[in-house]
């Protein structure tokens, strides 16, 4: 167990070390980064927005219900939805969802390339495969995932409004007052720190799982599952560490 942990950690670090080298041709890396940004960003926008919308809606309804008989002003619903979304739900839930969607896709894509000897073909050509296959995905994720998280936070707050105001649980002015109360820009900074960290984790872990696949379709499926499971656990662990350090 401990041997296995250090074995994988060592290989993961060496993959990241190999990744950092001068690209053979910047334009090819740029093209690949753009393709990945499209796959990760545009490809995940709908699911991220959908989940964010419902999380915001459920949070608002839940808090409005809990505050109904409590000696707390109702405008706190907007305040709590806003802060909970920005600090925790938008980065964490979005990245957990992306680990499932993007992470498994990355592991399957790279793993499939390994099995079809495409990675060997790249190496024979003289391409630094660790760099060409991992770096563009990582760069794309680090740019796009914080954007997705910001969009998720906004949609979530809108979702809270749509679920609580038209149903009469909170008035329009109460919800907006809540959104505008006790705002700390530092929380947005924390959201982006989490988004960047989680994006790095889910992409690099998934690339690692795919890059070292051996065997056939069963191993590829296992690598894809491992990418999601390990990314999720690491994201939750990192969430705790970042929250502890920044609050």
């Amino acid at each position: 167990m401990i041997y296995s942990l250090f074995y994988h950690l060592g290989r993961y670090v060496s993959l990241l070390r190999l990744m950092i080298s001068k690209p053979e041709k910047w334009s090819m890396y740029w093209k690949e980064t753009m393709r990945q940004m499209n796959d990760i960003g545009i490809g995940s926008l709908v699911i991220v927005c959908l989940i964010a919308l419902f999380i915001g809606a459920v949070s608002a309804v839940q808090f409005a219900y809990q505050l109904k008989d409590a000696p707390v002003p109702m405008y706190y619903t907007g305040y709590i939805v806003r802060d909970m979304t920005i600090i925790e739900l938008a980065p964490t839930i979005t990245c957990l969802v992306l680990a499932g969607k993007v992470g498994s896709n990355i592991a399957a894509e790279i793993g499939g390339m390994r099995q079809k000897e495409q990675i060997d073909a790249l190496e024979i050509m003289g391409v630094n495969t660790a760099s060409y296959l991992v770096l563009p995905k990582l760069l794309a994720a680090l740019i796009v995932i914080p954007m997705l998280v910001a969009i998720a936070a906004f949609v979530s707050i809108v979702g809270g409004y749509l679920a609580s105001v038209p149903t009469g649980m909170v008035t329009d002015s109460e919800y907006v007052l809540g959104l505008r109360s006790f705002f700390l820009p530092y929380n947005v900074f924390m959201m982006f720190v989490k988004a960047v960290s989680f994006g790095f984790i889910l992409t690099s872990v998934s690339c690692y799982q795919g890059f070292f696949v051996k065997g056939g379709s069963i191993e590829l499926g296992r690598a894809s599952t491992n990418a999601v499971v390990v990314s999720d656990v690491m994201i939750l662990l990192a969430d705790y560490v970042i929250t502890l350090s920044l609050t």
């Binding site: 000897e117 190496e123 024979i124 003289g126």
Partner: protein, 253 residues
């Protein structure tokens, strides 16, 4: 020319290659043949430096590639073209993009020059009209031809082919063999083909290396196969009673 000197390779306690020394000549189709498990693929992977030998040296002309560091190896690899068993084409790219990939990655050619080079190679492998098709939309034989076109697009000095005929019908296999032979002779490349296709052996075997249980058991050319008294080779090449009868008839026995 490529020279292998006393190549040994072990995986744990299992010794797969037991000291192979041979020479692969320039301008010839050099074949590595042998039964499954003889060590052909491991030997080929060592020759292209995808695997490191446990012992021994590989010389590309006057460069010992087993002594090179990663960066130096990358420079040597730019002189290599390789056709993989499953073609190893990039699924997300069209035929044209697959062939152009090495040019995009390693040259400073203009778009026009690249287009011309790709068109030339497409013509060499008789794939005109397939430029915008994806690998999934073309047959196995066509995929092999795209693989060959990609392998030779940078005018490599060394061409490696791993089971170029696997999964192909005899007629298409012949087309691929003739194509590889022609490219080798025209461009004076050192070509190494890993195969167990007997048609290839008898058609393009200019320099045949027969491996058996990790050792070089026989070396010769296609004209020497029929008359060789090496029992291992005869068992392998003329495996069926039908082929054995044909051999006897050819030798007048």
């Amino acid at each position: 020319m490529i020279r292998a000197v006393n190549i040994k390779k072990s995986f744990g306690d299992v010794e797969v290659l037991k000291g192979i020394s041979t020479v692969f000549e320039k301008g010839k189709t050099n074949l590595i043949i042998g039964r499954s498990g003889a060590g052909k693929t491991v030997f080929l992977k060592i020759l292209v430096s995808l695997l490191e030998p446990t012992e021994g040296e590989i010389w590309y002309d006057d460069v010992n590639i087993t002594q090179l560091n990663k960066r130096q190896l990358i420079d040597v690899r730019k002189q290599i073209g390789m056709l993989f068993q499953g073609s190893a084409l990039f699924d997300s790219m069209t035929v044209e993009e697959n062939i152009r990939f090495p040019l995009d990655m390693f040259t400073k050619m203009t778009k026009k020059e690249k287009e011309m080079r790709v068109d030339e190679r497409i013509e060499v492998v008789n794939l005109e009209g397939s430029n915008n098709k994806y690998p999934g939309e073309i047959s196995g034989g066509m995929q092999k031809r795209v693989g060959i076109a990609r392998a030779i697009v940078l005018n490599p000095k060394y061409l490696f082919c791993d089971e170029p005929n696997s999964g192909l019908d005899p007629k298409t296999s012949l087309v691929i063999d003739e194509l590889i032979q022609e490219i080798t002779q025209v461009n004076q490349m050192t070509t190494i083909i890993n195969t167990h296709d007997m048609n290839s052996v008898m058609e393009i075997g200019a320099n045949i290396n027969f491996l058996h249980l990790g050792k070089l058991a026989w070396k010769g050319n296609k004209n020497m196969v029929l008359e060789s008294d090496n029992e291992l080779l005869q068992d392998f090449i003329f495996a069926s009673p039908f082929l054995q009868r044909l051999r006897k008839r050819a030798l007048g026995k």
